[in-house]
Symmetry: C2
Subunit: 358 residues, 2 copies
């Protein structure tokens, strides 16, 4: 049983905690949080042990009726691995804490790549994280791009990727962010940082990315062009992507024309928080002109990195290979077609029954 601590219990941390808690081969030691806000109360209701991320603020929790299990030092000491889900830049400040306890740690994509031994995407480079002490799960957008590039590269070869990332201005709860009525090139300079970030996963990939921010909160949308090394058909690309469990190819006819309906679809299916862990690619959008492949995909910034964090744990501790880890993660998180949240329709229960630790 892998003992996992989660440091930071916001948008990503609370989802990582739930995902870890759902895995039969993992145990959630507890979560660390800076203050007793609504999310802290939810954690307590879920039975998660709460640790004070800032020891001096520990009394605030008891004043608010939350009994803490200790301070973050104790969480780090007790865990086999810590998933750092603190805001960008705080992860870097926390690294010495993990080093002092000799506890392996996973950082999020908001940290710079040099914080870790390896930048990670399960589909693309699982093996590079095997045995690593420090791993960085790349950002939501980089994860979304990596999941598409990996199968394309393996199947056809990739000459060049050009992607325009139409990014949501902020998450639904980030009510101080904008823009309200504007379309912002962001950054104005080209290329954006996303291309180089994808290159932390695919070092030899030729990729140019352009970023914008718009007045929306639900998901990012990518306008993606990949010049392939071979002649292909749109139907072949579509089948390739449909075979990826972390890519949901939206069928025509469902009337899903944007992120709003995707979220409704996921909520209707009973998914926790309406999460869409998969890249959501509009099947109808997959097009090939010469060797240029195009598609639109929506990326749920709050949840697509969650399964990657779970897989990073197994890779670092070398307890399962890529295929087995992704299979377990997907099954227990519930990844698959949103209308089938159990994932059972895409799993082979016979195979599933075999592993003793699963």
């Amino acid at each position: 049983m892998i003992e996992v601590g989660v440091n930071g219990y916001g948008t990503i941390g609370k989802r990582v905690a739930d995902a870890v808690d759902s895995q039969p081969d993992m145990e959630l030691v507890g979560v660390a949080k800076t203050k007793p806000n609504f999310e802290a109360h939810t954690a307590v209701e879920r039975g998660y042990d709460m640790y004070a991320a800032i020891p001096e603020r520990a009394p605030l929790f008891s004043e608010d009726g939350i009994e803490i299990a200790g301070v973050v030092d104790e969480l780090v000491a007790a865990a086999d691995v810590v998933v750092d889900c603190t805001p960008s830049g705080i992860g870097a400040e926390n690294k010495s804490l993990y080093e002092s306890h000799d506890t392996p740690a996973i950082f999020q994509g908001g940290e710079s790549a040099d914080i870790a031994d390896v930048s990670f995407n399960a589909r693309a480079n699982f093996d590079e994280a095997v045995g690593a002490r420090y791993t960085r799960v790349v950002s939501c957008n980089t994860t979304g791009l990596s999941r598409i590039v990996a199968p394309l590269q393996e199947e056809y070869g990739v000459e060049k990727v050009r992607a325009t990332l139409v990014r949501r201005g902020g998450d639904p709860a980030q009510n101080s962010r904008g823009p309200i009525n504007d379309i912002l090139p962001n950054p104005i300079g080209i290329p954006s940082h996303h291309g180089p970030d994808v290159q932390t996963i695919f070092p030899d990939l030729s990729i140019d990315t352009l970023g914008l921010k718009v007045p929306a909160t639900l998901m990012h949308v990518h306008s993606l062009n990949v010049t392939l090394e071979s002649d292909v058909t749109a139907a072949h690309v579509r089948q390739l992507l449909e075979d990826e469990n972390r890519v949901y190819v939206i069928p025509e006819g469902l009337g899903i024309d944007g992120a709003g309906k995707l979220k409704d679809f996921a909520l209707d299916a009973g998914r926790p928080r309406g999460d869409l862990w998969e890249n959501c690619v509009w099947g109808e959008s997959i097009a090939v002109e010469g060797r240029d492949m195009y598609l639109f995909q929506a990326i749920h910034q709050e949840s697509d990195v969650i399964p990657e964090n779970v897989d990073a744990i197994r890779a670092m501790l070398d307890v399962a290979d890529k295929r087995e880890s992704m299979r377990r993660t997907d099954k227990h998180v519930g990844i698959g077609v949103p209308s089938d949240p159990s994932g059972a329709g895409r799993e082979d229960d016979q195979v599933e029954a075999e592993p003793a630790d699963d």
Copy 2:
């Protein structure tokens, strides 16, 4: 003096009327409108003769205190040329009216290309409209793309254009349109119709376009990639675009990061309605990677086609060549750096003084 009638007095029509009215070689015969709304009252205050676009509704105008000069038939009969600025699809219904009076007409980009003898962009194909009876000024987005493609093609050769059009959901006054909080691939199918529309101007151009709609009203933003036929530098491309009078290269340091500040900039400069007739290209965004050129540009959907309509009039009646027509249009509309709305800083007054009809 060219007698011009404007049929339709909404977002485009009112701007075309003002632009025509500002040209010393043109006279606005009048404008036709379906109903006496706020725009009709503004037209009367400006001294424009009002014609009832639907004869049966003529009494509505007098009931509302607006004395009409006649009905649309009379306007068409009196004009040397009519600019049809009615909503998409209505222009096609009006064509027989223009034919019955043997009056040349200009249609807008919302009509299908086969409505006219030629699809028109002054910078790209002025000469093709010389002597034409029916001309279609292409849409705002196609105009914006054509103004960039033309100089790039002439200077470097263009191998392929790939553009993602992040489109405003509706104009500021179109308060029944959306989306409110979403990023919609629109159309979901790739390519969008914009690429084929650009090919009505550049028949041999290889171009793929992708369209989206977002919750913004002020301007469209294009994420543009052009694979050139020669090796170039970003600085060279920038200079090339700065030499185009209908392209405004936004300098670094002005703090203009989006459409909101562009509109404020134009309004502060005293431009009518805060119009931005030029493509607004972020100078800082112009980048070259290999033979791939990238840039971001904002396109003011309400006004960028206005100077093209004025030039189309001169081309069809063959009263000025391309260079002379564009010079006159730009001078009298006020096109140039937004902080210099007179355009005087970019005009040679000596040359200007010479033409008798100007």
